[in-house]
């Protein structure tokens, strides 16, 4: 038991779809926990790193300062760091705002957007507890060293399963055509 690799996961600027896909391995999750142990993760609801982990899995890119801090924390506490899915690898949908000035983004979201409730006096949130939004959405590998990239939006459950099991057992991963082709 003590020698099982320890896995931590996080969702940064993502939609939790990659985590949902991880859960999509269905009952194989029972096999998986025979192979690995989950630590800090939304799945376990463990909030802090209490010990060094073997594998860190990151969903989502970095759109604000907190994402960056989180990612750096994962890099510091995990031996192997993995970008899971399009947003972590390339910024994904959130990166569609790249190229639009911050002011325009914030005003569209909080002042002028069609979903802004006109009854209230709309404001741009600026509590000091809130992280700062970055000039653009960054893929994880521009901020820290990433060891593996698992493609997909979201990556197919089988791919995640194959990846984790081969990583843990030290075999070579065969990326099947269907797991890489999306149309």
């Amino acid at each position: 038991m003590a020698n099982k690799p320890i896995v931590a996961t996080a969702s940064l600027a993502g939609c939790f779809g990659c985590h949902m896909s991880l859960l999509d391995i269905d009952e194989r999750i029972l096999d998986l926990i025979q192979l690995v142990e989950f630590d800090k993760s939304p799945i376990t609801d463990i909030k802090n790193f209490e010990r060094k982990c073997d594998i860190g899995i990151i969903e989502g890119g970095c759109c604000n300062s907190e994402n960056v801090e989180n990612l750096k924390l994962f890099r510091k506490n995990c031996n192997i760091l993995v970008s899971l899915g399009e947003c972590a690898i390339m910024g994904g949908l959130p990166a569609m705002r790249n190229g639009i000035p911050i002011q325009e983004c914030l005003e569209e979201a909080y002042l002028n957007g069609v979903t802004v409730d006109v009854g209230d006096e709309p404001i741009i949130p600026n509590d000091e507890e809130l992280p700062m939004i970055l000039d653009r959405v960054y893929p994880c590998h521009e901020v820290v060293k990433i060891d593996y990239h698992i493609p997909g939006c979201a990556p197919n459950a089988d791919l995640i399963w194959d990846f984790l099991t081969t990583l843990v057992t030290g075999k070579d991963l065969e990326l099947k055509y269907e797991t890489l082709k999306y149309d």
Binding site: S65, V68, K72, P101, V144
Partner: protein, 605 residues
């Protein structure tokens, strides 16, 4: 205002008939008079021509001399290419900013001046150079700019403040301050053997097939870079059915290349006569000069040369009392390097976005307006004229077996005598360096950015298609130059000039550019080198046209011949982050008025 604009547009339409192929001319007339092409103007053009607004907008937005926003009554375009940087463009850049109080990409508040960068304008032997409302200014210095701007501010006309040009540049019809810098004499071009009409009269005694046979036996290969047999191209074209066309490709946009400008300035008749001989051979009645916008200052002069040839019955109807009719018109581009690629050039000449076509069909099958078309470099046409004057055997005896004749070389960079030279094919790089007075040469970019960066071990090689092929541009770097910075500047050029149609080129050039920046910032690692190589090899296989197929050459050839310029800068770490938190949050902190307490790493100071 709107009425004036309508008049301006109508005048162009009346002059040219409303046909799609004249759209660029209409857009130029609007840009020139309004200093912009905004949506209102586009709607008006659409109303008057019947071309859809979307189509007009798509076309206008392709060319960088057409602007949606006001570009200033006086629009300054400073060349920011590699050779300009070698000659001190940074000082010149600062002088413009200081004198006008604006940055590049901006227009003064009163809209009198607009300041922009542009890619190579074909003046590499007299850089730094800029275009000010189509007028070329060369050899710029800090004090020259101060004087130019103060004169312009006091209302003196641009044409009045230029210096004296050399050779035909001093003619009233050109009146530019440009130098030709022709540095030697030669057998084919740089001599006074040309007699107007002699070659054409000779060709008129032959049939089309005989003319083609003669061009083939001369061994003449295209001078635009690829070196395809001119005779073969004409033969293919002649075989196809349709209204045949002859086009001279005077887009000359490859940084470091400017020899076509000299031919145009001093020997345009030889180009026109060569085109006429090509027309006679393939059975064309119409020829087109596609002239890059940067050379617009030559237009009136060229029109006049054409008119003189018409008067001498060397152009027009029943040429030299034969049954042969042929005439040439001039079309002006609007700032896009890709329009030098022959199929993109044809699209642009048809008044569309200058995007390359899928090939096949090649232009010789379906070219201008779907008709069989010969596109050649002007030097190729001028060489044809000499062949029909002196004979194919005479031409074939010059140069080497596979590369006959002489070649015009555009020489720039670190040497005593930059300019244009005529050498026979087969000359060694060493011999060229000696002729041009280059000392301590460390590297040469041969054939422009899409060519190769060569090291001393190539200097004994022969310049010809069977050894070191080139379109004739040599940019010389001596041993105090930062080569990797030059490579990066070349990639800046390709990022700017990629037409964006296909992904390997659109994204690949940006990836190469960003990775080089990272390496120059000493943040590159071994993995970045692998990325450069992988990305280059994908681009060389998967790009749609010659631009993307060759734009990684500066990277691959510099890596091959000068690996140390990369190695010296690489970090020993396996990863170096380029992310800078303080910079990344600067904009949002400023907007919500919060103090930016982050440092580069992301901790709070």
């Amino acid at each position: 205002m709107a009425e004036d604009l309508e008049k301006t547009i109508k005048k162009v339409i009346l002059d040219t008939r409303v046909e799609r192929e004249h759209l660029l001319e209409i857009l130029w007339s609007v840009q020139r008079s309004e200093r912009k092409i905004d949506h209102n103007a586009i709607k008006l053009i659409s109303k008057l021509t019947g071309i859809s607004t979307l189509d007009i907008e798509a076309t206008a937005s392709f060319y960088h001399f057409f602007t949606e926003e006001h570009a200033g009554d006086i629009t300054i375009h400073l060349n920011d290419s590699g050779t300009s940087y070698l000659a001190g463009a940074t000082e010149v850049e600062n002088a413009f900013k200081r004198e006008l109080g604006i940055k590049f990409g901006e227009v003064t508040q009163d809209q009198r001046f607009g300041l922009f960068f542009t890619s190579c304008i074909g003046m590499c032997d007299q850089e730094p150079a800029a275009l000010i409302n189509d007028v070329v200014f060369t050899n710029l210095t800090d004090s020259k700019i101060a004087s130019i701007i103060s004169q312009l501010k006091s209302g003196i006309a641009i044409e009045k403040i230029i210096g004296e040009g050399e050779g035909n540049n001093a003619l009233e019809l050109i009146k530019s301050e440009i130098s030709n810098n022709i540095r030697n004499s030669g057998e084919v071009f740089f001599n006074d053997k040309y007699v107007k009409g002699e070659a054409l009269k000779n060709a008129l005694t032959k049939s089309g097939d005989e003319i083609i046979a003669e061009v083939k036996s001369s061994g003449l290969r295209g001078r635009g870079g690829a070196g395809f047999s001119a005779g073969l191209k004409w033969e293919f074209c002649k075989k196809n059915i349709g209204d045949h066309y002859v086009i001279a490709n005077i887009d000359e946009g490859e940084p470091g290349t400017f020899k076509d400008r000299i031919l145009l300035t001093q020997y345009p008749q030889q180009i026109f006569e060569g085109m006429t001989i090509a027309a006679l051979a393939i059975g064309a009645e119409r020829g087109i000069i596609y002239l890059r916008a940067e050379y617009k200052y030559l237009k009136n002069y060229l029109e006049n040369c054409l008119e003189e040839m018409r008067k001498a019955n060397l152009l027009g109807e029943k040429i030299q009392s034969s049954s042969f009719n042929f005439d040439i018109s001039i079309k002006i581009g609007a700032g896009a390097y890709i329009c030098g690629e022959e199929s993109a050039l044809i699209e642009s000449a048809e008044g569309k976005r200058g995007e390359p076509r899928n090939r096949p069909p090649f232009p010789v099958e379906k070219g201008f307006l779907g008709n069989p078309t010969v596109v050649n470099n002007p030097e190729t046409f001028a060489a044809v004229t000499s062949i029909f004057r002196e004979g194919a055997d005479w031409f074939a005896a010059l140069g080497t077996k596979e590369s006959t004749g002489t070649k015009l070389f555009s020489i720039s960079g670190d040497c005593e005598r930059p300019g244009v030279y005529e050498f026979q094919f087969g000359i060694t790089v060493e011999e060229v360096l000696k002729e041009v007075g280059a000392k301590n040469t460390f590297a040469i970019q041969i054939g422009g950015p899409s060519g190769k960066l060569i090291s001393q071990k190539f200097f004994s090689r022969k310049i010809c298609f069977e050894d070191l092929p080139t379109g004739g541009a040599l940019t010389i770097f001596d041993n105090h130059r930062d080569l990797l910075k030059m490579v990066k500047l070349y990639m800046d050029f390709f990022v700017e000039e990629s037409c964006g149609f296909c992904i390997p080129c659109r994204a690949g050039n940006v990836l190469l550019q960003k990775t080089l920046t990272k390496i120059l910032d000493k943040k590159g690692t071994k993995q970045d080198i692998e990325l450069l190589q992988e990305c280059s090899s994908v681009m060389k296989i998967a790009s749609r046209c010659g631009l993307g197929l060759s734009s990684s050459n500066p990277v691959t050839s510099s890596f091959e011949n000068f690996p140390e310029i990369y190695d010296n800068l690489l970090s020993k770490e396996s990863f170096v982050s380029t992310f800078d938190m303080s910079q990344a949050v600067a904009e949002s902190c400023k907007y919500v008025n919060r103090e930016n307490t982050f440092n580069q790493e992301g901790s709070h100071e």
